[in-house]
Symmetry: C2
Subunit: 139 residues, 2 copies
């Protein structure tokens, strides 16, 4: 079995934030939405059901808890959690805090308009907010 | 606490298929995609994290297992699992079997083109296939 590495497309589109017990937590480089991507550190997996039962539970637990705390911190209106993977085969879960005033509301974020990448200050600020929230979590 | 009832929009857009241990299993009335909607029978809940821990695990378990068996039965290329809820506040999880030849591939199904509703024969056939798969599941 080869070692875990995030897919090249994920590396291009997202920034690493921290390591959770199962997943690498990454931030989508789109400042229009607080948009996290959780990538289980398991090589060769593309569907949730290909993980063993304990990993499946841990994946959803990490996605749900990280989403819950970030939605509260950012005063979001709704949480979106999704495993799609039509474009990038490596298993990853999107966790997005949605606001009624955001660019894509009430539609989904995927494929909506043009991405607005972070500048360095914006990236540092968002990374800091995420880290501050995630550090206290029981995962 | 009021009793569980599916949201009126879900009733309009989907057909009931069967009852799982936690969720009502419904079929989206769009014959372009094998598209299920799982609605936990818990009133007043709109986010996954508002369920208790056991219900959260059961929800993801039902979504993942139903998706796995249906993907295999329909020879799907990818499974999409998503909790969005931007339009319908009542908690529900989408489970969609995707094919590389389907109308929206590789984009998401939400908001893609015009819905193609089932005719009665097509609906009966799809319901039958889903029921045959779901009956044997350990949920």
């Amino acid at each position: 079995m080869s070692a875990f590495e995030p897919d090249a497309h994920l590396v291009d589109d997202t920034y690493p934030v921290t390591e959770l017990p199962l997943c690498q937590l990454r931030l989508m480089d789109d400042s229009r939405f607080p948009w996290l991507v959780l990538v289980p550190r398991r090589p060769g997996v593309s569907e949730v059901f290909e993980l063993d039962e304990a990993d499946q539970q841990q994946l959803w637990r990490e996605a749900t808890r990280v989403g819950q705390t970030l939605k509260a911190a950012l005063q979001g209106d709704k949480l979106n959690i999704a495993s799609l993977g039509n474009m990038v085969a490596q298993l990853h879960v999107h966790v997005i805090v949605r606001h009624r005033r955001d660019a894509a509301w009430p539609g989904p974020v995927w494929g909506h308009g043009e991405r607005e990448t972070y500048d360095l200050d914006g990236l540092a600020a968002m990374r800091g907010r995420i880290l501050a929230q995630v550090e206290g979590l029981d995962l």
